[in-house]
Each structure stands twice: as C-alpha cells, then as structure tokens.
C-alpha cells in the first residue's frame, strides 16, 4: 500500500500526469459525445472539465501541478491562432466579394456581445476590474487574456469568462437559432457558424465544426475575423472611458 502511495506521489508530481490525464479524459469524453449522437449537453469540453476538476479535487492535486503537464496542450493555442489564417485563406474569394458585409456582421455582433456584457455588469454593480475583464469574453481565451491585460482587466478572470461564454454558446446555440428561425439551408448554416465563431469563439467553432462542415468553416472564418477586429477595436474603445 505504501508503495502504491509513493508511486502516486511520484506520478502526480511529474508533468506526465497532467498531460496524460488531459488527453485520456478528452478522448473518452469525445467518444461519449459521439455515442450520444453529439447532443449539445454531452459537450466534450464540458465533461472533460467536470471529470478533471473532480479528479483534482478528489486526489488533492493542486492546479499548478496539473498545469505543469497540461501546459503542453495549452501552449498549442498560440500556433492554433496563427493557423486561423488557413480558413480565411481558403474562403478568400467569398471574403473578397463580401468582405465588407462579413466584417460589418463581425463588428456589430462582437460589439453587441461585448457591449451587453459590460453594460449589464455595470448596471448590476459589479466591480470595475470584473467589468473590464468581461469585455473580451467573446474572443478566444489566449487573445482575451492579452486584451484584458491591455485594457486594465484581469487576464485570469478574462480566461474564465471566455471559457464560460464558449460553453454557454456551444450548449444553447441550437435551440436559440431554432427560436430565431435561422434555417439549416446553406445560408442558415453560414449564419449559424458565423455567429458561433463570433460570439462563442473556439469552443463555439468546435461545436459548429462537429455539427456541420460548412458551418465549421464559416465559424473558423468568423473566429479569425473576430480575433483581428476585437484585438483592434476593444483597446481603442477602452481608451474612451
């Protein structure tokens, strides 16, 4: 028994543990998601977080210990943001013909998400650093952290809000779009995918990609546009206040 405890203490302290646990739990969550015919409530990110969070709690493992291994996966977010140029490039002919309208939709949608978050938080009397950390919550987490840092919010809080936003979007988009009468024809998938990429960043885009290949491509396009427009506009808008 003591041998086992010693082995566990050793394993839990190496980066191998965090990396291995993240990959195994995610692969299992993804298999479960596909088994459940990709129902929104079976979202693989959501269940990975629940299982890993409960696992850390149960074993008394500190988050920094886990992150020592998980950071190898986290690190790939940087190159993934750079890689967003690929879907933009693939859709370049459609972008070139309609770039003004796509940019307009991305800016209006992004401003509505950021504006309603900041306005509602301010109206409900939340502290200023929380309000500022909410502004970039529709942008993908690593970029949101960078923006929050630049406008005087808290990067860690911004990452929390970004992840929650992505999960809310991925879980509730389907009934919301049905309620709004957004169809499932080519134009409907474009509107659905583009909205998920704009308002629910990477987690929303990942959901769109799993539901419909076209929606996923439009979501990736929106994600790329949103990263650029939000990174350009939120620091400027924050300067006015």
């Amino acid at each position: 028994m003591t041998d086992f405890v010693q082995l566990w203490v050793y394993l839990a302290s190496t980066p191998l543990f965090g990396l291995n646990a993240t990959l195994v739990v995610y692969v299992l969550a993804l298999a479960f998601y596909n088994r459940m015919r990709q129902a929104p409530w079976a979202n693989p990110v959501l269940w990975s977080l629940v299982v890993l969070g409960a696992g850390l709690q149960a074993t008394g493992t500190a988050y920094p210990t886990y992150f020592a291994g998980a950071q190898f996966i986290h690190f790939l977010l940087g190159p993934a943001v750079v890689a967003l140029a690929w879907p933009l490039w693939q859709r370049r002919t459609e972008l070139r013909a309609r770039w003004g309208r796509f940019t307009l939709a991305a800016v209006i949608g992004g401003a509505a998400a950021a504006g309603s978050a900041v306005g509602l938080a301010w109206a409900l009397g939340l502290p200023a650093e929380v309000v500022l950390s909410l502004a970039p919550k529709s942008v993908t987490a690593p970029v949101a952290m960078g923006i929050a840092d630049k406008v005087g919010g808290l990067p860690s809080l911004a990452a929390v809000f970004a992840v929650l936003t992505g999960l809310v979007g991925a879980l509730s988009a389907k009934p919301l779009f049905a309620l709004l009468g957004i169809g499932t024809d080519a134009t409907g998938w474009m509107a659905r995918g583009f909205a998920l990429g704009t308002a629910a960043h990477g987690i929303g885009a990942a959901r769109a990609l799993q539901v419909n290949a076209d929606a996923g491509a439009w979501a990736a396009l929106a994600l790329g546009l949103q990263v650029v427009t939000a990174a350009l506009l939120i620091p400027l808008a924050a300067r006015w206040f």
Binding site: Y26, V82, V143
Partner: protein, 120 residues
C-alpha cells in the same frame, strides 16, 4: 515531414508576432500578428502545402486546447461564485445577445445574394 515544417512556420510567425508586439508596443497579442503575417505568406504555394495539414489538425481539435484553461476555471470557481448569480446572468445573456445579433445581421446583409458555395 510536412507537419513538422508547417509547425515550424506557425511557431516562427508567432515568434515574429511576439517580437513585433513587444518592440513596437502594439496593442495586439503576438499570435494575432502572426496570423496576419501567415495570411500574407499563404500566397506562396510552398507555404500553403506545408501549413495545410498542421492547420487542419490544430483547428480540428481546437476544443481540446481549451481544456487546461477550463480546468483552471473549475478550480477558480470561487471567483465566479463570489459575484455569484449576477455574473452568470451577464455571461449567459450577453452570449445569447451576441449569437442572435450576429446571425440575424448576417442573414439580413446576405439577403438577395446567391446561397454561399459548399466547402472549398
């Protein structure tokens, strides 16, 4: 080999982006600048071929990359619980507003256009 070369290109552009962001005190994160640089570099066939596979792999498994930060969210739930229900209301409502406004605005703007083509 192509995957390694593609990853090398992505990381190099990210590094150049970080360097530009710091040296010129730009308000944009390094990876965003790297993305704009890659968009310019994709006009070359040699770059296209090398980046394609690794970009599709990374973006295809994008949701996995959020798990480490997300676990931090779960462990930091105290921060969220501190401001409690108000914060949850703000996040849920603003996400719905963002989704609805984007979808409706885009559909309105594209009205009268021929339906978009399939995946390229």
């Amino acid at each position: 080999m192509q995957v390694l070369q593609g990853l090398a290109i992505l990381l190099t552009l990210q590094s150049v982006g970080e360097a530009l962001s710091r040296l010129l005190h730009l308000p944009y994160p390094g990876p965003v600048i790297g993305m704009v640089l890659l968009l310019c570099a994709l006009r070359w066939r040699a770059v296209q071929e090398r980046v394609q596979t690794v970009a599709q792999f990374l973006l295809g498994h994008l949701s996995l990359l959020f798990v480490p930060v997300g676990v931090g969210v779960i462990t930091q739930f105290g921060v969220v619980a501190e401001h409690g229900l108000r914060l949850l209301v703000v996040i849920v409502v603003s996400t719905w507003v963002g989704l609805a406004v984007t979808a409706l605005v885009l559909r309105r703007l594209m009205r009268g256009d021929p339906p978009p083509g399939g995946a390229p």
